[in-house]
């Protein structure tokens, strides 16, 4: 081999150098590895000085290959590829050995770590010499954007893009946009009325010339790649003609069928069979719920049709499909609430006056089921005492280990509402009070002043089994007050459970549909937790809001805007580079067996009937290697991951075990004896 390889070993401060003897490794690589022309170590290779080191050596020493032994390629592969490109070397002739994540952070013994680093570098040096120059291709970016989910995150993202002049398709599963925020009365810590700040934004969305709002709709199919996605959207039949309906609501008034509204009213109130979730719904077009509708059940009724002044009711309407092309996609599908019945000792579903947080939100809402009055399940009695239990389903290894981030503040908001609207005494049973955003601690102090009682301890049980005087007819909250060091039994009339925020029940399927990953719990995974919070590992797919993890409205709005800004950047640039690390099929070697046809997670593989061979659309291929491994004829090769490159790397890793080139034949067992 005639390549001149430069090897650069990063100290990463003391991250690597604290464990690996970097000087020794650099010296060893320079003296022992074939092809190495320069071998250096440096404090921070990713710094501009570190990068210049590489650039200078390429120019002055004529390096033809570069190996950087540092952190994971996830972090800095781009950095070092760029440095190579700056000095005129094809960026794909650079390779990283991860001696931080895979060595210094995981190997305790310094000597072992140093040896492992050598092996990793030997593998990289071997491999990089077989690298080929690769060129990315440029594709145009479609200026349309799809936003999935019309909660406050999706609303914000849509408006930002639409106001900047770009077309947006906003797909919302429910009959109206608004998401969870539309269900609330007030929002912490400023106590703004949720509707007052949300509904103007909702109407903006409904009226915006650049926004095509597709409510009561879901994404059926996604194909394509960054800049060029094709999406099929299913518009569920509303049984109301959107063109004719004026939103007058007469049909709703006249509909004789009332059912419990489990979604918007959280089971606390009723809606009709033809309904919109709330009066300010956007769009304001009602939908018929065919499960409860008398006509769909018995074939009789049609009251809505009879009274509708514009003949908008259409019982024959079918689901319809819309095919759109977009350049980028923002997923803002939000969260679900923890099912409080999972914790039987808190009594939800069994003890009438145990409420979930969302039920209480609806109760406080002036247009909610109790018109804003705080009352017990009987609908009339005002409570004299209320206990709020924090962390229900959060911070508990039996359910969810994470903190749901918004419950402490919501509890304070609830405490305030109880104090404001009733004479009841309020107890907050908390584990830790988490008030770490702007204005939050001040709100906590305000509630201390307003007389809310704080009991620090995890509630063991809520029961109606009375024992002591004053407990009869009450709910008794059994809790250890860890500040006083005593067990307490607090008799109250009402208990509110601050349910955890959980990933949407279908988050994993949605992730799969759009080709993005979920965390262990099911939250969408961002490209980088700190530095790239709204992008994902799939180019052109962004995430925003509570779908990425529990957060409050200010954070959700910031993410919606951030995702929109990222998309705008893509649109303004106009083109996007497609990674050249892709798979290709050698036509002559393909037997047309069709093993690969169903395997590609990105639908990049087609079967060409006329030629009887398979074909990969390289613009769709992500180079994942699935088909490369599966093709029994080895007709598919993956650029940058050829057999030769992989075997060379393995041989390098085993440099101290394999002598020479790793002779293939086993040693002759005995001297041949003449016949």
């Amino acid at each position: 081999m005639t390549e001149k390889v430069g090897v650069y070993i990063c100290h990463c401060g003391s991250n690597i150098a604290g464990v690996v003897d970097v000087e020794e490794v650099a010296k060893w690589a320079g003296e022992n590895l074939e092809g190495v022309a320069v071998s250096r170590e440096y404090k921070f290779m990713c710094s501009s000085l570190g990068q210049e080191l590489i650039e200078d050596d390429i120019k002055n020493e004529g390096l033809t290959r570069v190996v950087v032994a540092a952190c994971s390629p996830h972090l800095h592969e781009r950095t070092f590829r760029r440095a190579c490109a700056n000095a005129g070397l094809n960026p794909y002739l650079c390779h990283m050995a991860s001696i931080r994540e895979q060595v210094s952070w995981v190997v305790e013994d310094n000597e072992v770590a140093t040896e492992k680093a050598k092996a990793m570098i030997a593998g990289a040096v071997n491999r990089v010499q077989l690298h080929e120059e690769l060129e990315p291709s440029l594709v145009p970016v479609n200026p349309n954007t799809l936003v999935v989910g019309g909660g406050i995150a999706g609303i914000q993202a849509s408006l930002e893009l639409a106001d900047a002049g770009y077309p947006v398709y906003l797909v919302e599963r429910e009959p109206s946009i608004g998401g969870h925020m539309a269900q609330f009365d007030k929002t912490f810590p400023t106590l703004d009325c949720a509707a007052c700040i949300l509904t103007p934004k909702m109407s903006d969305v409904g009226a915006h010339p650049n926004i095509n709002l597709l409510s009561y709709s879901e994404v059926e199919e996604v194909s394509g790649y960054v800049g060029n996605f094709s999406v099929r959207i299913k518009k569920k039949a509303k049984y109301v003609d959107e063109e004719l309906c004026t939103g007058c609501g007469i049909c709703i008034e006249k509909c004789p069928k009332k059912v419990i509204d489990d979604v918007f009213e959280a089971g606390m109130g009723y809606r009709k069979s033809i309904y919109r979730p709330f009066p300010q719904a956007v769009p304001n077009i009602p939908v018929i719920d065919t499960v409860s509708c008398t006509y769909f059940e018995t074939g009789k009724c049609k009251a809505c049709e009879i009274f509708c002044p514009t003949e908008a009711i259409d019982f024959e309407q079918q689901d319809s499909y819309l095919d759109i092309d977009v350049g980028n996609i923002i997923l803002a599908t939000g969260y679900d609430l923890f099912d409080c019945k999972t914790i039987p000792q808190y009594g939800y579903g069994r003890l009438a006056n145990v409420f979930t947080s969302l039920e209480f939100e609806r109760m406080c809402n002036a247009s909610g089921p109790t018109e804003g009055k705080i009352v017990l399940r009987d609908g009339v009695t005002e409570p004299e005492s209320v206990a709020i239990i924090h962390c229900v389903g959060s911070r508990d290894e039996n359910y969810n280990r994470y903190c749901s981030a918004i419950c402490c503040m919501s509890s304070l908001k609830f405490g305030h509402l109880v104090v404001e609207k009733t004479d009841a005494e309020v107890f907050s049973c908390y584990i830790d009070m988490r008030t770490n955003q702007k204005g939050y601690e001040e709100f906590y102090e305000r509630l201390l002043e307003e007389g809310m009682n704080f009991v620090r301890g995890k509630v063991a049980e809520v029961t109606d089994a009375f024992r002591l005087p004053g407990e009869e007819g009450k709910l008794i909250v059994q809790v250890e007050d860890t500040l006083l060091g005593i067990q307490r039994r607090i008799p109250v009339d009402m208990v509110i459970l601050m349910a955890a925020l959980e990933p949407r029940a279908d988050a994993r399927e949605v992730g799969l549909q759009f080709g993005i990953a979920c965390s262990m719990e099911g939250w969408f995974t961002e490209r980088h937790p700190k530095l790239d919070p709204v992008a994902t590992m799939t180019d052109g797919i962004f995430i925003a809001g509570a779908a990425q993890g529990p957060k409050d409205i200010p954070a959700v709005v910031a993410q919606g805007a951030a995702a929109a800004a990222r998309v705008q950047g893509m649109i303004t640039k106009g083109t996007v580079e497609i990674e050249p690390v892709v798979a290709t099929i050698t036509e002559e070697m393909c037997s047309g067996c069709r093993i690969c046809n169903t395997l590609c997670p990105f639908n990049a593989i087609e079967y060409l009937e006329d030629k009887e061979v398979s074909y990969i659309n390289t613009a769709l291929c992500k180079g994942c290697g699935t088909c490369v491994a599966a093709c029994p004829a080895q007709a598919i090769s993956g650029a940058h991951y050829s057999n030769e490159q992989i075997f060379a790397e393995i041989e390098g890793l085993l440099y101290d075990v394999i002598s020479g080139n790793g002779a293939k034949a086993p040693q002759v067992e005995q001297e041949p004896v003449p016949a």
Partner: protein, 331 residues
């Protein structure tokens, strides 16, 4: 073709089918006889080894060597013929990949001797006699070749110029290669003489996207005559096997068992088969997948490495480190 060339045919660990296959070129054998003096062909021509030993190096033009290397005698002959021949062809699957003899690499010499000389019901060996490499008799010393622990391919033993795959190679391919030699049109040394695609390419059966819910043994179904056998659940190795036979087996309804070996560039035939089949099993449930595999493929080595075990990356089951022929505990 003025001056006659010299041809040697030899057999090592093989079944003899390849010898017959050479005759399968029918009347063309006369052309071969016209073009070559046959200096060695144990099955057909009376020639002595010592006369080969006396020949000058590289004086044989073409050697067709079939059979794997199981004993020291076979290794000796391979080395001898290599030295004397200009062009050495590994002829047929045994020389190419080890073939059926190579399946013995799942065991070792000790176990084979134990079975052959003691355990089989038909063995009558009350004194427990085993073959010895040296035996003294009144007339002097008798020698037997050493029986190796491991079966090797020809290519693992000596440098081979060309590989002719197949069990046995089809007559057309044999003729092609001899003819190519005569015409001086041989490909680059080290190559396998054959196609660069797999049996499916020649198979007349219709194919769809593949999704397998159940593997079937050949005796379990009478396959539909039109559609791909693999899609019917039969483990057809045609997907991974180098084309060259003309898809003989699948054409007549019998799944390809892989005798032509892996396609160009493939390191390990069995691994290719396994990753391909694993990719198209139509289930997400690990237990269900386990069941489909265990019930449908009871003998994975015999199914996926029937011809290629000796040449594969597995090569053999582990031997104890001291090399005394005992299988290691983990084997």
């Amino acid at each position: 073709m003025t001056k006659k060339g010299k041809l040697a045919n030899y057999w090592a660990a093989s079944c003899g089918g390849c010898e017959i296959a050479v005759l399968g070129i029918n009347e063309k054998i006369l052309d071969v006889a016209n073009a070559f003096d046959i200096v060695l062909w144990p099955v057909a021509v009376d020639a002595k080894i010592h006369s080969i030993e006396k020949m000058e190096d590289k004086s044989i033009d073409l050697c067709l060597f079939n059979g794997a290397i199981r004993t020291s005698e076979q290794e000796y002959m391979a080395r001898l013929l290599r030295a004397k021949s200009k062009v050495m062809v590994a002829f047929g699957s045994c020389a190419h990949e080890g073939c059926i003899p190579g399946l013995a690499n799942v065991t070792n010499r000790e176990e084979i001797f134990q079975t052959a000389y003691h355990d089989t019901p038909s063995t009558d060996n009350p004194e427990g006699i085993r073959p010895q490499t040296e035996t003294e008799v009144d007339e002097g010393m008798l020698y037997l070749p050493v029986f190796y622990d491991t079966v090797k391919t020809l290519g693992q033993t000596i440098e081979v110029d060309y590989y002719l795959p197949g069990c046995p190679p089809e007559p057309e391919r044999i003729w092609d290669s001899i003819f190519a030699k005569l015409e001086g049109k041989l490909p680059a040394p080290g190559s396998v003489i054959g196609a660069e695609t797999t049996v499916c390419d020649d198979c007349p059966r219709t194919r769809e996207e593949k999704k397998i819910t159940e593997f079937k043994r050949t005796w379990e179904i009478i396959p539909d005559p039109e559609t791909c056998l693999l899609e019917q659940g039969l483990v057809c190795c045609g997907i991974a096997t180098r084309a060259g036979c003309g898809a003989l087996c699948p054409t007549v309804g019998s799944p390809c068992i892989g005798c032509y070996g892996p396609n160009e560039g493939v390191e390990d035939f069995g691994a290719r088969m396994m990753t391909a089949l694993a990719s198209v099993i139509d289930s997400e449930d690990p237990e269900e997948i386990d069941r489909i595999i265990h019930e449908g493929i009871p003998d994975p080595v015999g199914t996926f490495y029937r011809f290629s075990l000796a040449a594969s990356q597995l090569r053999r089951s582990t031997l104890a480190a001291d090399g005394d022929g005992e299988a290691a505990a983990s084997a």
